[in-house]
Symmetry: C2
């Protein structure tokens, strides 16, 4: 195997992210062979049928045997499953294999890896591709998912430069732009720009749906609510895991946001239209500036 070619790739969790990663690397010839591991035989068969993986093993099968000669192992499952995956991987993974993940939170994944991996920890490269759609499963995977998207890697003091280089090269071959960030900082930023928006929308949609007149209300709602609530069509288990894993940062964000809503409520109570207009205009121009300045990531 050369630095930019993966002889054997093992993808645990062949969904939108894992499947698209495998597909992109296969299509550009960066990997010869992909073994997919997952909970559902049906999803693995679909992935194999689509040419995403060459072989599929469920978690009940002896997938650990595939690790001895793996060059790269990608964990692309909900982050709550990663502790037990690291425990399975640690004693079986080959001495040259690089391990990475695609979890939306980094401190918990790093802690789980550190608890299990032992010497292989130096070849673990924590990662987070800022890409996605609200669809999930191998059927939703597509080769171009990561093109021009950002991938954040949060290497540690002990991370081997060669392991980091190999993972970076893979994401670059997927068309992504790689950035490095401290894991703590990563989790704080994504609590604000991703995890809280998801939590807000799940909460709103659940609250609306629980009303006796939910059907009438929703029948009158339009594309504004539809776009606003798109995040609530994301994978519930994945986002549950993210919110639980990053709950300290998320709770700080929720607290700040509830106080911001309190200020909006006070403006409404005082019928202070001028101040409300200034707030709305600040928001509007901030969004305009953001959209203009960034050719950034693309994540649900």
């Amino acid at each position: 195997m050369t630095a930019d070619r993966i002889g054997k790739l093992v993808v645990v969790g062949v969904g939108l992210i894992g499947g698209s990663f495998a597909l992109a690397l296969k299509r550009c010839g960066a990997t010869a062979r992909v073994v997919g591991v997952g909970r559902s035989r049906e999803n693995l068969d679909a992935a194999q049928h689509r040419g995403i993986i060459d072989r599929g093993l469920t978690l009940d099968e002896a997938w650990g045997d595939e690790l001895a000669d793996a060059d790269l192992v990608l964990l692309a499952t909900p982050v709550g499953q990663m502790p037990s995956l690291f425990a399975t991987i640690a004693p079986r993974v080959g001495a040259h294999a690089v391990i990475t993940d695609a979890g939306s939170t980094k401190r918990d994944v790093i802690a789980a890896a550190r608890a299990s991996l032992g010497p292989a920890m130096a070849r673990f490269v924590p990662g987070h591709p800022i890409a996605g759609t609200e669809h999930s499963g191998a059927g939703a995977a597509f080769e171009a998912l990561f093109r021009d998207k950002q991938v954040v890697l949060t290497p540690l003091a002990e991370t081997e430069p060669a392991a980091l280089a190999r993972v970076s090269a893979c994401w670059t071959q997927c068309g992504a732009v790689v950035r490095h960030l401290d894991a703590l900082r990563h989790d704080a930023i994504f609590a604000a720009v991703s995890h809280m928006p998801h939590a807000l929308v799940f909460a709103l949609m659940a609250e609306l749906a629980a009303r006796p007149d939910a059907d009438e209300c929703l029948a009158l709602a339009g594309s504004g609510l539809r776009d606003f609530t798109r995040l609530a069509s994301g994978d519930a288990e994945m986002w549950r895991d993210v919110c639980i894993a990053n709950r300290d940062a998320l709770r700080i964000e929720l607290d700040a946001y509830r106080r911001a809503l309190g200020r909006v409520d006070a403006l409404l109570a005082a019928a202070d239209g001028d101040a409300l207009l200034r707030l709305f205009e600040r928001a509007r121009s901030a969004r305009a500036d953001w959209l203009e300045s960034t050719r950034g990531g693309d994540e649900v």
Copy 2:
């Protein structure tokens, strides 16, 4: 003029809504002549250039003189401007003219009409097209904006059936589906499904933008936040007016929502992943059911 043909249409506020209404009626031959009234000469000239209006008058000009022979007058300005518009219209509008509006709130518009219109009140038909995009101005108007969208009319006890029929016919000619609703009920429903989501997003975007590290956070955000915050690109003045006009209903919604977020926070504090998953799954399936069941409106 027959029941389904408007000899002269006066549109006050030739923006996305007013402009699209005029364009749709002109293109299907339902109106012979459109006079546009607005604050900005530039926008009126753009509207005339695009064939949306035949003549444009700013609010500083003698636009009241255009009302004597108008068949239909549509107010499509932010709702905060409607009280003074009704005061101008009342003494000048012809005895056969029908008046309607496109405001997102109905009780305040009805109260403003009632304060000024006198006998013409029977020919005022309060309306709310559930359509829009985040763009504004005559340049954003397009003929098909209302096609297959809902328009809610909230007729009153004194509303003349012929006036109601005329306004209904216009919206039907625009391709919309007309529904009737009580004004109080309208305002309560739209506080939940439209006004609060706007307020939430303006608040979030303003809060994010006020941070010292706003640029770094936003540079890492992806399409999730982009879609979630699309509503914050709406017309700030229009939404300020809506939020102030409907503030009692909106504050009830904000209060319920802040309590819902408090429950999410409690689940996070307890690290209760099972309950959080149930909440997220309820939200996800509610959204899926809603999207499947409704071919409803389309509004920012």
